[in-house]
Symmetry: C2
Subunit: 344 residues, 2 copies
């Protein structure tokens, strides 16, 4: 099995485990409608990259063979054990909550190839489903069985992360239609909106399991690969066919979202706002998007974004030196590469 296949297999294996755990930890409940809406997007799919990262970090820290230890009863640095799967479910639930609310704010109709939660259940239930997942995520993070000291620290990290995600989403919305945005402002925005949840996912297992010295380097690893992930996500919005993307290709251009590509292109003198002259995804053709992407490629903006993402991945992988040399550590490096090599 080649390195890339090994990474993809590791992701798939843990996705299975996480999917089962989500079903266990977030069962259907009363009121039926609310829990159906809360579970809907989680059941619709997703690669589970953040919980996978969390589980792999735990395995690397404990220096155990991948998938050999019981995630529900995982060995901490001392004699205690921790349910790291509850923590993994927690970060995935946070991710799902933010997607539900973001889709309302961005008026996105599709997500993961299915209608968005607010399209299916209406605005009120979608807001409430997000709110329910929010507190459920905290409930799960409180249920790991870690020592109270470590639980409090993990909770603090999670709460702070959620605040930052809101700040990032607020900046993202505020930056729409704003051609003054600098590279620095864009990078701050994606750090808050996206990277901090990867950073939380990578560092929380170190907090819960008691590996103090690893917490900060792992947070840095998560930040770096999270930034790379978002840059790649922005690139995929431009380059992946609509069917594969699960939503309209080029929607960021249509919505005048700021990305590293558009900020760079503007610096090259491109009239970014004029690239796609449509108000909504209904008014746009594939040819319009093709032409816009061709322009962005010509001025080097696509390549610039790709190179920046690669740089973050290099930096992030360097921080993994804090972990013992292990198969799990190799897989964490591989996931960093995967994040910018994936084509959907």
């Amino acid at each position: 099995m080649g390195r890339q296949q090994a990474v993809e297999a590791a992701i798939l294996d843990r996705r299975e485990v996480v999917n089962e755990a989500i079903d266990e930890d977030l069962p259907p409940d009363h009121p039926e409608d609310l829990y159906e809406a809360s579970r809907y997007l989680l059941k619709a799919g997703g690669k589970r990259l953040r919980p996978t990262m969390l589980l792999l970090v735990a395995e690397a820290l404990a220096d155990v063979a991948p998938l050999s230890a019981d995630y529900r009863d995982f060995p901490a640095v001392d004699d205690s054990t921790v349910d790291v799967l509850a923590a993994a479910v927690s970060v995935e639930i946070i991710q799902s909550f933010t997607l539900i609310h973001d889709d309302i704010m961005d008026d996105d109709e599709m997500r993961r190839g299915v209608p968005a939660v607010h399209e299916t259940y209406g605005l009120s239930t979608a807001i409430l489903a997000g709110d329910t997942l929010y507190s459920k995520a905290f409930e799960r993070m409180l249920a790991t069985g870690a020592t109270p000291e470590r639980s409090v620290r993990a909770l603090s990290r999670l709460a702070r992360t959620c605040t930052q995600i809101c700040e990032g989403q607020s900046l993202d919305i505020g930056y729409e239609n704003n051609p003054e945005i600098t590279t620095g402002e864009y990078l701050e925005m994606i750090e808050l909106k996206t990277a901090v949840l990867y950073a939380a996912s990578a560092s929380i297992p170190a907090i819960l399991l008691g590996y103090e010295d690893a917490v900060d380097p792992l947070y840095g690893y998560g930040l770096d690969v999270g930034r790379a992930f978002q840059i790649q996500d922005d690139l995929l919005d431009l380059t992946t066919p609509t069917e594969k993307l699960g939503k309209q290709r080029g929607s960021d251009l249509i919505e005048d979202k700021q990305t590293l590509v558009t900020v760079h292109a503007r610096q090259q003198g491109v009239d970014v706002e004029g690239l796609v002259d449509a108000e909504s995804t209904d008014d746009v053709t594939e040819a319009d998007i093709e032409a816009a992407v061709a322009t962005l490629e010509e001025v080097g903006s696509i390549d610039h974004a790709r190179e920046t993402a690669r740089e973050y991945v290099r930096s992030g992988k360097g921080r993994l030196q804090v972990l013992p040399d292990s198969e799990a550590r190799d897989l964490l490096a591989g996931i960093a590469d995967y994040l910018i090599e994936r084509d959907y």
Copy 2:
């Protein structure tokens, strides 16, 4: 000073303290817009009943003279101290978050006499402001300096409470236009939507300060007075003039919300849905509301709701026996009375 004045003065005194603490604990921040929207409703007023209750319970448990101890450095049952004001701010922030999201769901335009957050800042920023307050509330509850064991328990209570509030709001929405709702279903709904946050406010100080035996009775006190509060709130919607209420009088009837009054009236054979024949607050006159209320009074539904609220207050006050006989305990009994005597 009579008993009622003493209670009102106690509420006003603590409101001042809580207002200052909110300003300290939730200062303006970056992004400016997001924090302005997050602070807007908190700055618009509110009686701060939940944080006041939390502070008074702390004073009663510690058996200190009201307002004599430093809330930021409050004596626990052992030698440690706790910032109970951070906990008080936390429950008020939760309350504010739920109001912001509820106003979106109910399409309410006014709150506390000012336009609702989504009317002032738009839907996206209002959703995000609520989400930001959500995590800020957890951050504050993690900042009390209580022992990790107690912090974890307080956090668990807060997270569970938030989940229940969402469940209650979901039931409330689901019950609109549903004439089949029973008294039991209505009571479950208000317990979740409203009473659990009072219960959390009353019991969390006992958790944080280490008074184990008082936790459950205080939770019961909060549940009872919280139920009474919601029943009174529903009554005030019918009986308080629009100017004083800060929003359209009778809006629950217009929106076909279920209340103890409407459930009871229906049992008396009243055609509740036909009482106010308007689709929105714009189509309704004061005379329409007057006539509807007269009918509800005639069949005894208003009195029935009043009596039920009184019964809960009696029950709640009984649970205060767990506290030492003190001025703070008397004030907590007085607040229970105040909740159903207030006229706005």
